[in-house]
């Protein structure tokens, strides 16, 4: 009688082999992607001829823009300031409203599951729609100017800051919360003394990050009529003032780069 020990029921077919179906899946996937690309190219009219036809016009446009006319710069200062102001106000109001919302959307603080899920869902919903679309809708609702731009930025900053902050809130150390709770503190005291000190640096850092993004956005808000330098760019292009448009673009780059540098430096110091 042969006693079958546990490690002798060895089966050759159980040795892992190079995965053939993996290779097949890749090939099929790539073929489908390629077929879809060809279909898309035909649909959009993207081919050598259409691109070659438009290129001369494109280069003519670039030539007409060069050199930027810096004499027009003084007239641009005001819209530039408006651009910065839109971003500041939008970020600030959005970030302030984000504080209570992020508390609702963190399961370490908010123990009410229904409220938690609803606030998560709303924030995800807000973030699905691009910022410029909000701006366009709000322009149609309340009229052209910086006001709809500010509201669009409030909306979006609220959603991003609240999402990031609530994620940090879910990762905080719950020890201090429990300690303070057992010593008989109420909800507000718990938040003030055990949650806020842990979360404040990352919250400020997220707000600064969103401010960077908002500066970039507020330079294009004007393309849909929501104030700032984008609106000046649009008028310059419509009036064929291409050198002025070039000045705006160069100055916008400078602005974005400066704000990025300052904000990155500030964030580095915070964390």
């Amino acid at each position: 009688m042969i006693v079958v020990s546990s490690n002798s029921n060895f089966d050759v077919s159980k040795i892992p082999r190079p995965n053939k179906s993996l290779k097949r899946n890749w090939t099929i996937g790539l073929l489908i992607a390629f077929a879809f690309l060809v279909y898309s190219a035909r649909n959009t009219g993207f081919n050598f001829n259409t691109v070659a036809d438009g290129l001369p016009d494109f280069f003519r446009l670039i030539r007409q823009m060069y050199p930027p006319k810096w004499a027009t710069f003084p007239s641009l200062i005001e819209p530039f300031i408006e651009t910065i102001q839109i971003a500041i106000v939008g970020t600030f109001i959005g970030a302030v409203i984000a504080i209570p919302v992020s508390l609702l959307a963190a399961n370490t603080v908010n123990k009410n599951n229904k409220l938690y899920l609803v606030s998560k869902f709303i924030m995800n919903l807000i973030r699905t729609v691009p910022r410029i679309l909000y701006a366009a809708v709000f322009v149609a609702a309340v009229g052209i100017g910086p006001f709809p731009g500010v509201i669009a930025l409030i909306f979006f900053s609220l959603a991003i800051v609240a999402k990031l902050t609530s994620e940090s809130l879910e990762a905080i150390d719950t020890g201090p919360i429990e300690a303070i709770e057992t010593s008989g503190a109420n909800k507000l005291e718990v938040i003030l003394y055990s949650v806020v000190p842990q979360i404040a640096p990352s919250y400020i850092s997220y707000s600064l990050y969103v401010f960077e993004v908002n500066i970039r956005t507020s330079t294009v808000l004007g393309l849909v009529g929501a104030g700032g330098i984008g609106q000046t760019l649009m008028t310059s292009l419509n009036l064929f003032m291409y050198q002025r448009a070039a000045t705006i673009i160069v100055a916008t780059f400078a602005l974005v780069i400066i704000i990025d540098l300052v904000s990155t430096k500030l964030r580095e110091r915070l964390i």
Binding site: L37, I132, V139, P148
Partner: protein, 260 residues
């Protein structure tokens, strides 16, 4: 003890002056955009009102909206493909660890930086001005912008590769092409594909907006509907955008998880 308390005092001073400075900046900005509390409340209530007017959405526009949404999808997809292809050579030039001399790679990085500073919406404005309104302008805008973005990310991927396999192959007498094919590509390809898929998500959002400046896609419907204040049509367009973007987000996240 002394110096420590001095540092504390300085810290406190910096904190307070930063606080006061931000309050001043905030007041300046609020005055600049001409917003007061009453106006803000009125504006928000009129916006809430608008969302009410969008319902029920105009379902007779559904098929039209879906066709335009497919346009947006094709713009995003093809734009991502163009960007992914164009970004590869630029990234190899800009990466500092493989071939190029430090000057050439510096130049490559500067070119990528310059492309990236153009938001796709501004590119679209220029392409509409030279190629005429339509999908082609949007496609080029997305493609060029993606080249800059993907080029930067690809460069990072290339600079992070493990050089062990490369030296091993070189030592065994492989030529440049063989090194690329067997030691470099297997390392970077999954990352490249995952990066491009992520870019597709972003481009999907961008391509829904392009129509507002005449560059094709669902934004065209939105822009017309907004001009005539046809809110139920705006409603259906927004619903289609939200559903479409969500589908793309989830499937892209799924694909990326499979690849990396």
């Amino acid at each position: 003890m002394r110096p420590e308390s001095n540092v504390r005092k300085r810290d406190k001073f910096i904190r307070w002056s930063a606080f006061i400075l931000s309050v001043i900046v905030l007041i300046w900005a609020t005055l600049g955009v001409n917003i007061n509390f009453g106006e803000l409340i009125a504006g928000i209530s009129s916006i809430v009102n608008i969302f009410g007017l969008m319902f029920p959405p105009d379902m007779s526009y559904l098929s039209n909206t879906l066709v335009r949404m497919m346009e947006s999808v094709t713009i995003a997809l093809l734009g991502t493909a163009i960007g992914s292809v164009l970004a590869v050579p630029v990234a190899f030039i800009a990466a500092q660890n493989l071939f190029a001399s430090s000057f050439v790679s510096w130049l490559g990085r500067q070119i990528l930086n310059a492309i990236r500073t153009f938001p796709s919406l501004i590119l679209a404005v220029f392409f509409v001005a030279s190629f005429g309104p339509g999908q082609l302008a949007g496609l080029l805008a997305v493609g060029i912008h993606s080249t800059g973005m993907l080029g930067k990310l690809y460069t990072d991927v290339i600079e992070d590769i493990d050089t062990g396999p490369i030296s091993a192959m070189e030592a065994s007498g492989a030529n440049k092409l063989e090194v690329l094919w067997y030691a470099v590509f297997p390392q970077i390809l999954p990352e490249f594909i995952a990066t491009s898929i992520y870019r597709f998500e972003i481009n999907m959002r961008a391509s829904t907006v392009l129509g507002l400046v005449g560059a094709g896609g669902i934004g065209v419907i939105l822009s017309q509907a907004l001009n005539y204040r046809r809110w139920p049509v705006v409603g259906i367009a927004l619903i289609v955008i939200v559903i479409g973007v969500t589908i793309v987000d989830y499937s892209s996240a799924y694909l990326r998880k499979k690849i990396v």
